[in-house]
Symmetry: C2
């Protein structure tokens, strides 16, 4: 039997990503989001959604750039903190003792200690409702050499990203390898 | 040391979701996507990105509706298959022996055997590049009673969704509970 839950943002999985920006005075800020995802292959783009009330919203409007940083599970406390307090009145980098690095290609800082970092330039802004969606073209993807796998690409089991469960409000680890994509389906 | 990978759609985690639609003759179709995510809380909305060449693209243009279905890991073969073949020349429901159920609120079918199903009505279409993004207002969320947890909400460890790893091209299971959100960060 199916149970109806009505009109809610209830689906699994959603990511836990940390968005890096500079404010108009050059102060680096970070904010944790779960509302986002890849939205185009060519050009490679990622979408993130923010409320106008957030400090990050104003920063992106000002700088037209942001980074998306993937925290490892050992940084769950910091990532959660970045979603609780506002950059309006807090220097989240100082408080967390994490390190902002100026983007190589865009006007936004990334988090040195997080294993994957995407540098993005805003190419579209979409008004939806409570949230505004920024579509960022991915200019560069960086990853720590320590998280690379056999094929030279980042290995999810070394990156150890974690998920956010909407409504349930908890973080969940990623698990083990399941199957090869574009392959197992051919057996059907 | 960080290694640069250039402009690529390389980030973890991305979801494995199955989009359900009807074509102009009423044939139900399903297609697997990883490019999507929640994009607004009020109204609750989810974004999915598709290439114009897909059968699903034409169906959504025609019907202005779709479902997003969350496959459990036991359906990884079917979900992978839905991303390999096209509805242009295949009846994917018949081939996979899964069951299309007419949406209760929107003009699109959902997959009975998958534990979570979102019924969505298109409210915006965003041209990005190779992909077009459809923003769907979530009209209803349905879940199997068998996957509900103590709090009455779906339990991710019972739903058993799985992730897609872009570029690496494999599916990954979800893991165990990590921490409570909007809580652990207060200890910082």
């Amino acid at each position: 039997m199916k149970k109806s839950f009505g009109a809610r943002t209830l689906i699994f999985p959603t990511p836990t990503w940390v968005v890096g920006t500079y404010d108009k005075n050059g102060k680096p800020n970070v904010m944790t989001i779960a509302w986002g995802g890849i939205c185009c292959s060519k050009p490679p783009c990622i979408a993130i959604s923010l409320r106008k009330a957030t400090y990050t919203y104003g920063n992106i409007i000002e700088r037209k750039a942001f980074t998306v940083n993937v925290p490892s599970e050992k940084y769950v406390k910091e990532a959660d903190y970045f979603g609780i307090v506002s950059g309006h009145d807090t220097d989240k980098f100082s408080k967390s003792k994490l390190t902002p690095i100026k983007g190589e290609f865009v006007d936004a800082p990334y988090v040195k200690e997080f294993p994957m970092n995407l540098e993005c330039r805003v190419i579209q802004t979409v008004e939806i409702g409570l949230h505004t969606q920024f579509i960022g073209e991915i200019i560069d993807v960086k990853a720590d050499e320590s998280v690379l796998g056999k094929n030279g690409l980042p290995d999810i089991e070394k990156v150890k990203p974690f998920l956010y469960c909407p409504e349930v409000r908890n973080y969940q680890k990623i698990g083990e390898y399941l199957e090869e994509a574009f392959s197992i389906g051919r057996k059907l």
